[in-house]
Amino acid sequence: MIDVLRIVFLRDLKVSLRRWTDVLTSLILFVLVSLVFPLTLGNDSTMLLKIVGPVMLVSALLANLLAMQNIFRPDVINGSLEQLTLSSYPLTWIICTKIFSFWLITSLPLLLISGFIASSYYVTGNSILIVILTLLLSTPSLVHISALAAALTVAIRYPGALMALIIIPLSLPIMIFGSKAIEFSISGIDVSAPLYFLLGMMFFTCSLGPIVTASAIRISID
């Protein structure tokens, strides 16, 4: 079983690296969105410090929304997702590894970049670590919710708007607690409460997400 998951993981990693333009689009979108706000709001540090949390989370959400559109779509078109559902291995675990490899490809670079972007927002000291930690805790949930939305809309021709309509309401708690965590760390308040919640949300979505996504795929492939 484990070597099957390893095969799926390596295969998806290789495919995603070959399709590196998707990695880049989510990264570029993240940087661009974070670039727009200082330019439009002017660069006085108090204002920027106040909005760094929401900007980080919203751009992570948008990057996810874009990147996750083609997590299942190409595999359905070329028929390899059917082979995965027909394999004797549980589809939930295969979906779990697929989502993990996609998280590695699209969201991990965001974490690395977010440190620099946060410092460009005059964030100093360990708040930068908190920004990275918040994104580390919130992106897995976002990835799982977007994967579910992608699985539900895989049979639809233009799923863009519908995916946003599904993802954003479901990811509001992560948005709220994520931006609050960063805001607390900047204004020196104790950060553990929102971070614990983000951790809880992460385990909740990462454990139940693949199960629901697997059944969504079985239904869409029907």
Partner: protein, 214 residues
């Protein structure tokens, strides 16, 4: 999997009774019953669009039929401890090849490859795919992609092969080799379900289901 070992000695059989499928309220096929045991070949024939592919997808469990059940070793395929998918290899119209990977990687990364390198070379030699192994799958021609997909099926030592028009757009030598391979599979005690609308050089089949007459 003790139960599995005791059973593997006895023969497997695939049975379906009164299968029926409606696609948004218009009938695709109904009342399909057959029993397939080891060494037998079931041919599903009929004109285009009479539901052959849908029937195959129902048999292999991708589509849930409106009525009727598919049984493997007397266990319904959606039963939890049914080992149907351990013995099933399905090839539909789509070749299940990832275009970003080369043909060799596609073969390597398919989940159920157990066969030795020697038999792999034999099949690749017969399909003369060796010179295309390092090409990306999207650059291969339709026929070559089909052959790579078929190689994956031939390599996977599953007892039941479900192939949707296996002989379509394959050149004569490849077709000949495929026919002999299918025959060898049946002699080894495997089971085979194929569809074909051009009923000329198909494998002689023990059972046949014709979907033409509504």
């Amino acid at each position: 999997m003790k139960q599995e070992d005791r059973r593997s000695v006895t023969h497997h059989n695939l049975q379906s009774n009164f299968l029926e499928l409606y696609r948004s309220d218009h009938l695709i096929f109904s009342n399909i019953s057959f029993e397939l045991s080891e060494g037998q070949h079931l041919l599903i024939s009929g004109a285009n669009g009479t539901g052959k592919t849908s029937l195959l997808r129902v048999i292999c469990g991708l589509t849930i039929p409106t009525d009727g059940t598919v049984m493997w070793d007397e266990l319904a395929t959606n039963n939890v401890d049914c080992t149907y998918h351990h013995h099933l290899a399905y090839l539909g119209h789509k070749n299940a090849l990832i275009s970003e990977l080369t043909a060799k990687e596609n073969l390597e990364y398919s989940l159920d490859r157990h066969r030795s390198v020697m038999s792999t070379n034999r099949i690749l030699e017969a399909f003369d795919l060796n010179k295309y192994l390092d090409q990306y799958a999207e650059k291969l021609s339709n026929g070559q992609m089909r052959k790579v997909a078929l190689t994956r099926i031939l390599l996977s030592d599953k007892t039941l092969w479900i192939l949707d028009e296996p002989l379509a757009n394959i050149d004569p030598p490849g077709k000949q080799f495929l026919l002999t391979e299918m025959q060898a599979h049946l002699e080894r005690g495997g089971m085979l379900i194929t569809t074909s609308n051009v009923n000329n050089e198909t494998l002689k089949s023990n059972l046949e289901i014709n979907l033409d007459n509504p």
